[in-house]
Assembly symmetry: C2
Homo-oligomer: 453 residues x 2
Amino acid sequence: MAKRRIVVVGGDAAGMSAASQARRLDRDLEIRVFERGPHTSYSACGIPYLVAGLVEDPSRLVARTPEEFREQGIHVSTRHEVTALDPSSRRVTVHDLVGGRLFEEPYDDLLLATGATPLRPPVPGIDAAGVFGVSTLVSGVALLRFVEEQRPRKVVVVGGGYIGLEIAEAFNCHRGLEVSLVERAPQVMGTLDPDMGALVSQALREVGIRLFLEETLQGVEVRDGRAVGVRTDKRLLEADLVVLGLGVVPQTELAKRAGLALGVRGALVVDSRMRTPTAGIWGAGDCAQTFNLASRRPFHVALGTVANKMGRVAGINLAGGDAVFPGALGTAVCKICKYEAARTGLLERELTELGIPWTGATIEESTRAGYYPGAGDMTVKLLAERPSGRILGGQIVGIEGAAKRIDVVATAIRGGLTAQDLVDLDLSYAPPFSPVWDPVQVAARRLLSLLKD
Amino acid sequence: MAKRRIVVVGGDAAGMSAASQARRLDRDLEIRVFERGPHTSYSACGIPYLVAGLVEDPSRLVARTPEEFREQGIHVSTRHEVTALDPSSRRVTVHDLVGGRLFEEPYDDLLLATGATPLRPPVPGIDAAGVFGVSTLVSGVALLRFVEEQRPRKVVVVGGGYIGLEIAEAFNCHRGLEVSLVERAPQVMGTLDPDMGALVSQALREVGIRLFLEETLQGVEVRDGRAVGVRTDKRLLEADLVVLGLGVVPQTELAKRAGLALGVRGALVVDSRMRTPTAGIWGAGDCAQTFNLASRRPFHVALGTVANKMGRVAGINLAGGDAVFPGALGTAVCKICKYEAARTGLLERELTELGIPWTGATIEESTRAGYYPGAGDMTVKLLAERPSGRILGGQIVGIEGAAKRIDVVATAIRGGLTAQDLVDLDLSYAPPFSPVWDPVQVAARRLLSLLKD
């Protein structure tokens, strides 16, 4: 009997987590991975720090190379793009991007782990030298080389999401360049409520980043083929380097052409076992939708943590196991020089849209005991269902040491805890780490009193 | 009608939390607090950092002074010791330690918040100059003065619990003195399992603290009335300063003489509302027992976090409200120079004694993404009930940035989460904060695989 054959499309977080997991659990599977780029399993999240000069070598961002996967008995073909998919005959068409050959590859099970595509608006000048995206290691290395060779002085970052903020930090705090950040929305970090987003804007300005909110990219000014500025609807910003961090959309062109079901934001529809509704086809990572544990509805989030977990679950199931990924909360954290911002669960706007009655509480506290050196301010916001008090969201903005506390909120949401439960939590305390009432609990106390009103 | 009159014995964390809470909720109560010492509401946990020279002034450790409480309408008498209690007539006898006067004070409700007494073994020389305890702000200030005036060079710390470790850190890392630590048990930080305790011992030795385990204090060598050394059962250690950190016992002499019910370790028996079985008498803080949320049994723990929470609940109930303190987990964290240690819930030994079948998993991981500057090693141990996988304990030892993660474990225990739930948690990630799988989740994955064996 021929071996069961699994084909994985995409060789990064989700795809390689799945392949490794399946390999570990079933030595008899044949596992073939096709990856369009030259790398496997790298930390896309590390690119801002590579660009900042904090990572000694780009290879440090690669968790495992194609060779290492091959040693595990996983057939990895890099620079191979899957261009077509026929679910009825269970075959994919593969394009060898180096050799130029096109071939068909049969599968028993197919995992789509194609990731997400960065948005790149078709404005004039967008393809000029000096304009970079940072979604792949290849693009990160190209940006690093540009920075080291061209020594730019004025950087414009377009987009105020996580990547945009981290890139702005990299050039401002670590490279000492003049950084302007352009964001179309009235706030950066749109995954925060406006009041908390305003604190991030304040932090950006305080560290010296020039912030242009409610301005839309209209084009890149080009001279001699090189970017020399960014034109918004309100002004022209000088720039000898432009970095785009405009967010991503699920990369599901292949799936769409094959007639697979697409859901939120065009992401692949998968169940909690990572199965699509189409026989033999699975999906995981940034290309797939997942389940929001706070809203109890499908949603899409492009984060490495979630991609890794989805990949692991897909891998277990591909190997005949039975694993379930219950869902996520969009928990995220971001460092901006000495400041930190984090969030989990739902926003005010989302709660209202869902028709969930809610109460929110926001407090300011110290990151450590007030008398301990390095103590700084942090703001915690908690959102809870009314009248139950069940925690549904949390946001933190503050000084170094503040933000990782979001994990307590994420754990509380997962556990169905209420504001009262948070107040009662036995969290750790010593003066170098926290005030005696952890700031999350101070927020919970405020929330509790508001819930009683 | 006369005002209802509440008497509080003890003016620190639990007592003043209760008094403040009751005052806020009921403006008509008469609230009288008697405190033996000169201070109210100070951070005993801050004393090691005061001694280290990190706190600019001892007054910084005082959260609120007697005057501030008086402004809130709370009658605070410092240097007043309650020496007797008659539950049948609802009266206490108070000794004015300054004026010398003895008087009786009636109460409608009495809150005992007498704290804990540091152990001070009656060995030769224990009362010599240069031997210090650090349980009160008065003793902390005396130690600070001694250090600044006498400039000791060789310090012996007796006792390897939290306070002992923090005092050893203070003199080693911040004052640059030669520090020896003597501990009777085979490990420091007895609230950890031996394997994790060994990592703390290793950390202490690495930062240059001389560690003498399984050695018992026999006496203090005295010359001209001053301590010059510490004698253990195995050696004589030179010392021009000796600090005792031998742990505490609940301070319940007064309660005992009045015939109140005493429980674990001689702590006051209270229910979840902080009521003792004796009518009109309540207890909170280090003098009272509480409920262990992991073992589901009464236990005693002397920690500021728990004392504050018990005090708050007592205060709400004293004011006629209805609050419950569900219990604690003994969650604690400790900094030793660049190292950190933390714990929550039950130990291996306790699980075995309770007859709970358990599985433990220990892993090493990086505090941040491996390529991010400042990333260091940390060890996470998780203990779970078998076969349910319900998390019942956690311990962390590692480099700066490691230990506050214990809060996720404490929250998970509170929420009844299992190893599988921990694996699925949506915790925050960015390279400066964590690897993509948080170390707690890596431990949960290991635990999960061991639970399946």
